[in-house]
């Protein structure tokens, strides 16, 4: 049993860390303050191959060289300096590229993937609606096949990467009919950016992840060709579930980056800041809390990369699914705790935007919500244990 990543994964960590330190860290505070989505940085991340780590070579990806673990390394390291760009990468791959790669036809893959993998385009995944988040089956958006076109009406909300200047498409879930017994038939359809009737509303004013591109979307009599159906008709819900398992581990990796940042900032500050003539790190009240951060970082990292390793090893779905939920639940809750501790270590300065710790404090909360809330993870874990939980 090995508890280490490979030498190549560690070399890659160094490469992404240097990239993030030079290209992202110096600008992250400004992007956050001004709610700027840095398209040029996305393109640079594309040049570094970050969007293609799990994509085949024919679309410009890393092919057999790449794996899910390397994607988690990249998300962790980007997230260590900027959670907004970490979620941009996570969503671009997990929610943008993955559904098309997994369920797309040869034509759909050839048409959309090369630009998405290169980082010259982004795709969003339009699932959440004003009345349907965790309860995806409550989807109200409707798509009707009229002749050889889908006509889509409805609205979506909280959709990441859906309205940037390089967004090329949004994949939306929609009711395409009813099954026997009145249950909704939900399918997934590709809506290219700029399609008439497809309106990207103004970006949200968010507590955190302020540099990430998140919008409400409205669809009014949007016509797309019938061949824009992604995967099988009526399989939209199942497809969405499959997409989320991978995404959970990727969010856990983002949380690991957040905890690591809190740990490093706290260790440094506690060594420099003095009160009563000693560094505050000499006080047990401070030092013990920072010791706890180390435990959180190691535990979260262990759970996250175990889940990633299960995915890369092609282990059974049920085993991976449970590991993904465990990693997501623990890492994200630990990240929220870690930001609270780091802010406390920084004292009054922790409450000032002058230090990045305040930004991490605002960014962390959504980790417990996006791509399956903590409550949903507990349900999944309880069910995997055979409990009859609702």
């Amino acid at each position: 049993m090995s508890f280490e990543l490979s030498r190549e994964h560690e070399d890659f960590r160094k490469s992404v860390r240097e990239f993030a330190a030079a290209e992202i860290a110096p600008r992250a505070a400004r992007w956050d303050k001004e709610h700027t989505f840095p398209v040029e940085t996305v393109r640079q991340m594309g040049e570094l191959g970050l969007f293609g780590l799990t994509a085949p070579e024919e679309y410009g990806g890393a092919g057999d060289y790449g794996d899910f673990t390397s994607l988690c390394v990249a998300i962790e390291e980007i997230g260590r300096v900027d959670q907004s760009m970490g979620i941009t990468l996570e969503a671009a791959v997990g929610l943008g590229i993955n559904p098309i790669l997994t369920f797309g036809t040869a034509e759909q893959r050839e048409k959309w993937l090369p630009d998405l993998v290169a980082g010259t385009a982004l795709a969003g995944f339009g699932l959440t609606e004003p009345g349907a988040g965790s309860d995806a089956a409550a989807t109200k958006t409707r798509a009707q096949l009229v002749g050889d076109e889908w006509v889509i009406n409805g609205s979506k909300q909280f959709i990441t990467n859906s309205g940037s200047e390089i967004t090329s498409l949004v994949t939306v879930t929609a009711r395409t009919g009813e099954r026997e017994g009145g249950k909704a038939e939900v399918s997934t359809i590709i809506v290219p950016a700029g399609t008439p009737g497809f309106v990207v509303e103004n970006a949200y004013d968010k507590l955190g992840w302020r540099a990430s591109d998140t919008h409400p979307l409205s669809l009014t009599d949007v016509h797309v060709p019938a061949d824009h159906l992604l995967g099988e008709r009526g399989r939209g819900y199942g497809q969405f579930l499959a997409t989320l398992d991978d995404g959970r581990v990727a969010i856990a990796a983002l949380a690991v980056g957040c905890i690591q940042a809190c740990l490093e900032m706290s260790v440094q500050y506690a060594g420099e800041r003095t009160t009563f003539n000693v560094p505050i790190g000499a006080k047990q009240g401070v030092a013990f809390q920072i010791a706890d951060l180390q435990v959180m970082a190691e535990a979260a990292r262990g759970l996250t990369y175990k889940a990633a390793a299960l995915k890369d090893a092609g282990r059974p779905r049920a085993e991976f699914k449970q590991a993904a939920a465990v990693a997501k639940l623990y890492s994200t809750e630990a990240a929220v705790t870690a930001t609270r501790i780091a802010t406390q270590v920084f004292g009054g300065y922790g409450f000032m935007e002058e230090y990045p710790v305040a930004r991490f404090y605002r960014d962390a909360k959504v980790l417990e919500i996006g791509e399956g809330t903590s409550e949903v993870q507990r349900i999944l874990i309880a069910r995997s244990l055979g409990l009859p939980v609702e």
Partner: protein, 259 residues
């Protein structure tokens, strides 16, 4: 076009630096990296290769750990590497280093030899010129822009007072500055692909060099001793009291001979 890049493994400038008992730089016991200034030479070589459908070979001289400089270059995209490894090399000065590099480079019969503008440890900037002398090739140093068209190479040199544009023909030795490009970060694909790329390890014997031609005993210069830099002082704080701050600042700058 076949391009050879001379790459040096140096102590990481952000880490600790140590010296051996013989006053040579400790390259084994500290964290090391491919010299940052050599990354520009590697990047330039990769760009020229891609434009000319050529090949990039990276050559390094140094102890076992110096192989990391070759590996980083391969991860960035170089095609193959050469590592000259021999205990007798320890303590070599720049003249000896240029001899070893010259022998290793000429075996490759390159069209173009690229070097960084200086190493980040020794910082002498003399190896490219010595290499040119030993190989009998023309040299252009401190290139801030390199444009290759067939066998013609146009080089821009940015000086303090003027900018020169020099045209030369291959074979040629160039040193490039940190202005000529933005070195790429290795991608995961590049890192994985580097595992399979060939690295040839050569000894002094393979290059026809006798052990007494190189090393500390053959060096023209020797470090007799060193002292650690004094720790940073707290600095001087100028407080603007009743508008006297500017005067205090000027006095300080004058006393330190800054103005």
């Amino acid at each position: 076009m076949k391009i050879v890049v001379c790459a040096k493994y140096v102590p990481d400038a952000t880490g600790d630096r140590k010296f051996n008992a013989d006053n040579t730089v400790d390259r084994v016991g500290v964290d090391g990296v491919l010299s940052e200034l050599d990354e520009y030479a590697v990047e330039e070589a990769l760009q020229i290769r891609d434009a000319t459908d050529g090949e990039v070979v990276v050559v390094t001289v140094g102890p076992e750990v110096a192989r990391a400089a070759v590996l980083k270059s391969l991860q960035m995209g170089a095609d193959s590497g050469v590592h000259v490894l021999d205990e007798a090399i320890h303590g070599s000065d720049s003249a000896a280093t240029s001899l070893i590099l010259a022998r290793a480079v000429e075996r490759q019969r390159p069209d173009l030899v690229l070097c960084g503008m200086a190493s980040t440890d020794g910082g002498m900037s003399v190896v490219p010129a010595m290499l040119a002398e030993r190989l009998g090739l023309p040299q252009v140093t401190f290139a801030s822009e390199v444009v290759v068209e067939d066998t013609t190479v146009r080089i821009r040199r940015d000086g303090d007072a003027a900018t020169e544009v020099i045209e030369a023909t291959t074979p040629l030795i160039l040193s490039v500055t940190d202005q000529c490009n933005e070195p790429r970060y290795p991608s995961f694909k590049g890192i994985m692909a580097a595992k399979k790329k060939p690295v040839e390890t050569l000894t002094l014997g393979d290059l026809g060099i006798a052990a007494d031609q190189v090393g500390l005993d053959a060096a023209w210069t020797r470090v007799d001793g060193f002292t650690e830099r004094l720790p940073k002082s707290a600095g001087t704080v100028v407080t603007d009291d009743n508008g006297s701050g500017a005067d205090q600042l000027v006095s300080f700058l004058v006393s330190q001979k800054f103005v």
